[in-house]
Symmetry: C2
């Protein structure tokens, strides 16, 4: 009996090992379990991650007072409680304004692994990205001067900047860099990573079948690397996107669109750049149709969806910050 | 030398002790340091506090999907990062609508100690209060049916309700009760409480002078009890409020207005029911003028303001929640 069980285990192992190899051949990479290795990947040599910067960056990330109205923080659209997104099709910002291109807020979790930021990839890294929404009129609608005035009006913030950066001047760019340093730590290792690292049992049979289908259908052409996404690709290669009429986004000047990460994808509905697709099933099948020119059956989509569950990652534990109190010189909220 | 130091300490103690007695005579009460005693005070016998309810209530408190738009949570207006308030004069809710009466969001910290809730005191407790903003059109704009549909669409929530309440049916009222259970735990012991409990050194000399002035001027007529507020009182007793023209709030049917707590007051600007006063100094002096008919000098106001710093409490450590993912049956956000 013991021998029988053992040989079953061996058989499973033998069956699953090629799948890990297939995955690696398709360019799929785990989030390294080794902390040093991971830190090398997520760090910014120009502005190395330190505990002080991360703690301060977290505060700034959650601080609604950086916005013109005093009501919108980075976390409003990139809500760390809900997969790093806001769950609405087009981001809503200052004065309840929807994103003018009807663009969906991408997740901030694992964004550090993307080769570029924003749907059109116009930003090289999270430091640069963080400067965008803070200033965008339909998002946080603040000016760099407002940001510096808010932060420097609160002695507790000034003290924390000093702790993090010494005598470096507090500028808008430094605030964005600090937020980005926090964002660099928002990585979410998942059962899938254990699987890629050699633990076949980390994925159920259905999930393994889903991963195999995912690779075989060619999904890894775009959804690859650590983030299973994050690179620029053509969109609607084989057939036009069913919901292309919603919003006016056509990609960058070459028609390229950023491939969203699939990590935590079960938490980040609705899908695609215009958030027009509500369900993963439709998203998977639409991708097969317009990107790969293949039909993905309901059964195959269900398997792939099961595989996606293995990409649900463990989020870093975040203590909700206590922010410094406003002072008499803190700029007043402006609703208009 | 040793003797000299000792007698100085004794002298300070002798000087300060009457102030503690004065404070007690004025009805000022500490948040009990004893956990059992505190728990008795904050508990709801009809729905006793349990770990499971508090954890679930925290999730619901932070869950934006309870709102019609999917963008507004209890925490939006009662932000636990900023003294339990939003920092704007009138609350802003669904579709960027300001509170129609220009009412300022009161803090949720220590609200459990208030004898009634809302500025007009129309609600007896936090359980009842929690039902209001969720449904109010200019706030979260949801219906009870929406709330139940959202919560029951996510198996992880259903499981947590089962853990907290067994087979009790998930109703809108139960959701509100659960949020309230979490809110009951939001108490913030401060140096002031240590002072009232007998530790004279917990307050600086300036703060003690401020407390004495606070009592002597008569502020404790209204700002008393554990919360230094939370009861109903006439507003503008001696002279009309300078900013009465902002908004149309005139109190309850008897013209009574809820006295705001002074705990964490340094963090909850702007002040008064219509949030018309930006600074504590003006708030203190305006109170003297319209409620007590006394002039509070700049020096006295500064002392009182120093005393208020001793009311800045230690907030409960809150791990930012990871919320259950939406499912295909979760009601879709509605921006209109």
């Amino acid at each position: 009996m013991k021998i029988a069980i053992l040989s079953t285990v061996t058989a499973v192992a033998l069956m699953a090992t090629p799948l890990i190899q297939d995955a690696k051949n398709a360019g799929l990479l785990p989030i390294p379990a080794d902390k040093k290795e991971l830190n090398k990947l997520i760090d910014n040599p120009k502005n190395p991650i330190t505990k002080e910067k991360v703690e301060l960056g977290k505060k700034l990330f959650f601080d609604t007072r950086l916005s013109k109205s005093g009501l919108i923080s980075c976390n409003t659209c990139h809500n760390l409680a809900t997969g790093g997104v806001d769950g609405v099709s087009a981001a809503i910002g200052h004065k309840w304004t929807a994103n003018p291109h009807h663009l969906n807020s991408p997740t901030v979790y694992n964004a550090v692994f993307f080769s570029s930021q924003f749907w059109d990839g116009r930003s090289p890294d999270v430091e640069n990205q963080a400067q965008g929404p803070i200033q965008a009129a339909p998002e946080m609608a603040a000016t760099p001067e407002h940001i510096v005035a808010v932060v420097t009006s609160m002695p507790a913030y000034v003290k924390e900047f000093k702790k993090a950066y010494g005598d470096k001047k507090i500028t808008f760019e430094l605030v964005a860099d600090t937020i980005a340093t926090f964002e660099r730590t928002l990585v979410t290792p998942a059962p899938y990573d254990k699987f890629l690292a050699g633990n076949e049992k980390a994925l159920s049979k259905t999930q393994q079948r889903g991963l195999k289908t995912f690779i075989d259908k060619g999904c890894t052409t775009c959804h690859t690397g650590i983030a299973l996404g994050g690179e620029m690709q053509m969109f609607g290669v084989v057939a036009p996107y069913k919901y292309a009429h919603i919003g006016d986004f056509k990609g960058n000047k070459d028609g390229m669109v950023k491939v969203p990460t699939l990590r935590n994808i079960t938490e980040t509905a609705p899908y695609f750049h215009n958030g027009a697709v509500a369900t993963l099933k439709e998203a998977i099948q639409e991708m097969g149709r317009i990107q790969l020119g293949v039909e993905i059956t309901d059964k195959e989509a269900a398997d792939i969806q099961a595989f996606f569950k293995s990409l649900d990652g463990k989020k870093p534990a975040i203590t909700y910050p206590q922010l410094p109190a406003c002072t008499d010189t803190t700029p007043k909220p402006d609703m208009n």
